[in-house]
């Protein structure tokens, strides 16, 4: 695999996802993300960012358009080939998505499930191997909670659980990390810490990083490239230095709870319905 900067990791061409009820969550999106790039995606809630991420990590399939990952068209992937591709993409979720009744150890080692055979995976649940325990402890040390290795996951705080989720991605050693609002359920100081850790890791390992963020400040502070996303469409795609207040105001127009200043925009027409995905025919 080519890993030189500039070679594409993601190539989206006219990507569209329409749900059965007619709601169009992602609407004709075309963009590229290069290897090792760090991209933040911002926009009002309900813009379709989570659906976009689910398409990017091969959980949901687009209804129209083409998705290329590392120069491979992934729409037709099934079975083992699909799982091999998923294995190369690590995801951190908004609600950490851990198995709360398992020990932290097993949640971290779940990052290996793509490599392990079923007997190996079941064996690890019953009697984890020493080298796996070591790997899990190292990953937890990188996110600052090595002492939680044997704890049951549901006794951890929200912030600690998010760190476990990051440790799972570390153990997975993916080529791409997708983070879907990873800090929306933790306090602001911790949020900075978690975003910082992910950006740093992606820098160290030359891993491509794409992150959905609620916080514009975090996006501008940590990411060289920022994409504005609204109503399922890319509104702007700029280096963070070029993201102006006007662009942000337009992006959040009508979103009173997230950006109060957006109410004063001259272009007006703030309406409650703008946070709903539009219904329209293609």
């Amino acid at each position: 695999m080519l890993r030189a900067k500039g070679s594409g990791v993601y190539r989206l061409e006219h990507l569209t996802k329409a749900f059965d009820g007619g709601v169009i969550a992602v609407n004709d999106v075309s963009l590229k993300i290069g290897a090792g790039e760090q991209v933040a995606i911002i926009g009002p809630s309900g813009a379709g960012k989570t659906t976009l991420f689910r398409i990017l990590n091969l959980t949901v399939r687009q209804t129209h358009g083409t998705l290329w990952i590392k120069e491979q068209e992934v729409g037709a992937l099934r079975g083992a080939a699909l799982r091999r591709m998923r294995r190369r993409i690590g995801t951190v979720y908004q609600q950490h998505n851990l198995v709360s009744r398992l020990r932290v150890l097993h949640n971290v080692l779940a990052g290996r499930l793509g490599d392990w055979s079923l007997p190996r995976a079941l064996g690890s649940l019953l009697a984890p191997r020493a080298e796996d325990v070591r790997a899990a402890r190292e990953a937890l040390a990188q996110v600052g909670i090595p002492e939680k290795l044997w704890a049951r996951t549901d006794v951890l705080s929200g912030g600690q659980q998010q760190r476990v989720a990051i440790a799972r991605v570390l153990v997975q050693r993916p080529e791409v990390i997708l983070a879907d609002e990873p800090v929306s359920s933790v306090d602001p100081t911790l949020a900075q810490g978690i975003v910082g850790v992910l950006v740093e890791l992606s820098g160290t390992f030359q891993t491509t990083l794409a992150m959905n963020l609620h916080s514009v400040d975090l996006a501008l502070a940590y990411f060289p490239r920022v994409i504005g996303f609204r109503d399922g469409r890319v509104v702007f795609d700029r280096p963070s230095a070029e993201v102006s207040d006007d662009l942000l105001a337009a992006l959040y127009a009508g979103q009173t709870e997230t950006a109060p200043e957006a109410m004063d925009t001259p272009d007006g027409s703030p309406s409650v319905t703008s946070c709903l995905p539009p219904l329209r025919s293609n």
């Binding site: 329409a18 799982r83 609600q95 995976a121 219904l279």
Partner: protein, 288 residues
């Protein structure tokens, strides 16, 4: 996606749905009223002097229970047999119910986030999954809709008297119940953890054992133990049709009008069920 439904149609659909609980409640009320009438419920009948005296005579005739050494010694065999029937029946029920229940779990095989990518826009694949799903569901309902004593009756004809037909009857009918309830428990689990496991490249088997089963374990174990308790009681009924255990002894004593013995047997059964309940309570507490 040429003609998505209009927003008005959407809202209308929601409004109809909101009426559903009210309609359902009315239906339940009607069924209750009809049943009261048709089942000839007359609580007064129980309190009439005649019935009271008859019942009192019957109960008085049962006492004292027969606790003679000879009789008790006679019961050791059937007691052990009842335990064996219930244990083996439950094990067989798990062996029948678990695989069918897994195939019949829609969130594993057919719908939702675990099947979204592979089955979207692939009607042939969807059908290939839907057929085994429907077969498993159908088989499970046949197994559990036929009462266990009917199964026992059939198995007694097939394999003769003794504990084996009891084990088979419990295995099949309880297998149907376990499978149905297993699939419902699994379908009701939150799928967020499983979505993340799948995204690491895990197969559905691994998602099952790392995500669904650990999450649902307390409920699965709890329901299985409850079924075991029911199997102990059921083995008494099954004895009536010749499937061994304490039930066969109860039937024998009843037919000879030895009500002193019947009372001893019922007490024994009660103690056995209480012991099973106590034991399963301990296990449940261990798995939280």
């Amino acid at each position: 996606m040429d003609h998505p439904p209009s927003r008005a149609a959407f809202l209308h659909c929601d409004r109809t749905r909101a009426l559903f609980p009210t309609l359902l409640a009315l239906c339940c009320l009607a069924v209750f009223a009809g049943s009261w009438h048709l089942a000839q419920i007359q609580p007064g009948l129980l309190l009439q002097a005649d019935s009271r005296q008859n019942m009192a005579r019957f109960i008085a005739g049962m006492f004292p229970p027969d606790l003679s050494r000879d009789f008790l010694r006679l019961l050791v065999g059937p007691l052990v047999e009842t335990i064996q029937i219930s244990v083996m029946g439950t094990v067989l029920a798990i062996a029948v119910g678990l695989p069918l229940g897994l195939v019949g779990t829609a969130s594993l095989t057919l719908t939702g986030i675990l099947n979204e990518f592979e089955l979207a826009g692939a009607p042939a694949r969807r059908l290939a999954r839907a057929l085994p799903y429907a077969c498993a569901r159908g088989l499970l309902s046949v197994f559990r809709c036929v009462p266990e004593f009917v199964w026992a009756f059939m198995f007694v004809r097939a394999v003769g008297l003794g504990p084996l037909p009891g084990v088979l009857a419990i295995g099949v009918s309880y297998g149907g119940m376990l499978g149905k309830v297993y699939s419902e428990i699994l379908e009701n689990q939150g799928m967020r953890g499983c979505e993340a496991l799948q995204a690491t490249g895990a197969t559905r088997w691994k998602v099952l054992w790392y995500g669904l089963v650990p999450q649902a374990l307390p409920q699965l174990v709890s329901y299985t133990l409850y079924r075991w308790e029911c199997a102990v009681r059921a083995s008494a009924i099954l004895g009536f049709v010749g499937a061994g255990g304490l039930g066969q002894q109860i039937e024998l004593s009843m037919r000879m009008f030895n009500f002193h013995e019947v009372v001893t047997l019922v007490l024994l059964l009660f103690l056995l069920v209480a012991a099973v309940d106590f034991l399963s309570g301990k296990v449940r507490k261990g798995i939280v």
